[in-house]
Symmetry: C2
Subunit: 313 residues, 2 copies
């Protein structure tokens, strides 16, 4: 069994992961990221003990502990080099957590890479080339080549969300305008939905948002499925943005498998079918075998399971 | 010694390459691509004999023969799967050339990959991650990871030129509008220069083009260096297009080294300095070590030398 730790800017989520791989028990607490990192790591250790107790495991059952962290990671040394949303620089996560679990292998991996690795193990079936993208607050990317997570020379590779969709376009959190993330993340979809609601105040989409008290990534999809034309336009445009970026990834990597994850991926075939059509139309060249496109299956557990499985890499 | 064959849509160029690696002797003939492939391969074999004779080598001196071909290549089997501008599908180049040179290892590689591999051997110094781009008629890309050419699952990976710069923008030969190639290739630069000349008929740029009898990739650069404001605008915009795509490549790969090749790269620091500044400003994250950017050094010989060196991979 493994322990997987998904360290986020808001919460720390920890799970006991069996060899299926499935999350047997889990627990979480707020990250409260202003604190000294030693306190955050102590909370991780406490959560690990808690999920082991709940899952009926002891430390003797644990083959490895994996941490998925945002930011640029030195996985070799288990150090978070730089994590913007934690305010961290050069934090030695492995060494610090090792004080609580001295004889267990501890892996530290970028969170998007960890999630991608989880999907790779479950859905990649030993693919020679595998890419996972996560459509969330941003767009995360994880690349697995020759069965290894691709990290680049300095540990910050795989930032697929920060490639251009529109030169000089919408502002992006990274400082470079026009990134794919600024058009095809859930954050971007919500922005696009809000603009369409403002322009179509009598639409079903507007009513659904009012009833729910907020605009979410689901608002336009839900309204479109009920026949709202304005919502359908939002969805169609958003899907083209997503699909264009996926074509780019395929033109670069021609991976054996590409998995689409994140909350919006729960739309399933409603999302995948038009993406597949766009990819079939616009991907470069016509050589077989084409990339197999699929929806992620680990969803919210991808971070915990991926970190757990990557712990002994 | 090696033989390198650079198969293009217009010409077949063959060189005898020593272990420096340098081209000792070379020869070429028109491709005349409508012919049966057997005739084209016979010309390759004849050119090989010719450069060996001129270079004072015999077949006993040859360690390998490498062919760089446009299109999607099955390098394992030495087959050109699909090459648009040759009108080829499933052409068994290795088998056919092997009829003339039965006991020599023969490699077949995508031409951009071959050129990138040549630059890697000469300038990569064993880099764990290396990318070369060629700014030519199109934009070619070659990726060398863990000392191996990255080809993707089906042999058509590395099409860096066919990633988006402007969603829905300028038409591209690949059918997907807005590709980086449609903005940052020499073909695109010539189009941009022609438009600027039409808008500024009294500019020095217009005069240089008239004197030369044509607009080339050098027209705007030459005029800008002589103080022509309209030309400087063309150059500045073009360099931003080039640099934006390079930022994308770095955000994905964070390679140890990235080499810029193709005719326009002969501009040297005049091109590299503003690109470096743009990359420093817009690349994601701030983690060291940063990608080392450099200008290619093999230039026109990259195809021949790269194919030659890749022949025994």
């Amino acid at each position: 069994m493994f322990l997987g730790i998904d360290l986020g800017g808001t919460n720390i989520a920890v799970g006991l992961v069996d060899n299926t791989p499935k999350v047997v028990s889990n627990a979480s607490c707020p990250t409260d990221s202003g604190r000294p990192y030693q306190e955050i790591v102590k909370d991780m250790a406490d959560l690990c003990q808690k999920v082991m107790a709940e899952g009926g495991a002891t430390i003797a059952d644990i083959e490895g502990i994996g941490i998925g962290s945002p930011g640029s990671i030195d996985s070799k040394n288990g150090v978070v080099l730089y994590a913007n949303n934690l305010g961290w620089e050069n934090v030695p996560l492995r060494t610090e957590l090792g004080k609580y679990f001295p004889n267990i292998p501890i892996g530290v991996e970028n969170d998007a890479n960890a999630a991608a690795y989880g999907e790779y193990v479950v859905n990649g079936h030993g693919s020679d080339s595998f890419v996972a993208i996560t459509l969330g607050t941003g767009i995360g990317g994880g690349i697995v080549l020759d069965k290894k997570i691709y990290r680049g020379h300095n540990g910050s590779g795989g930032e697929l969300g920060h490639t251009t969709l529109v030169f000089g376009g919408e502002p992006c959190t990274c400082g470079k305008p026009g990134c794919w993330e600024a058009y095809a993340s859930v954050t971007a979809l919500i922005r696009q939905t809000k603009a369409a609601i403002a322009a179509n105040p009598d639409s079903l989409m507007a009513k659904l948002a009012e009833d729910a008290g907020k605009v979410s990534g689901r608002t336009s999809f839900d309204a479109a499925k009920q026949g709202d034309k304005a919502a359908q336009e939002v969805v169609d445009t958003y899907i083209r943005y997503v699909a264009e970026g996926i074509v780019n990834v395929i033109n670069i990597f021609q991976p054996e498998t590409l998995v689409i994850g994140g909350g919006i991926s729960k739309e399933g075939d409603y999302l995948l079918t038009p993406i597949q059509k766009y990819v079939d139309t616009y991907t470069y060249g016509g050589v077989e075998p084409r990339t197999k496109l699929m929806i992620a299956t680990l969803f919210n557990d991808a971070g915990i399971i991926g970190a757990a499985l990557a712990s002994t890499l």
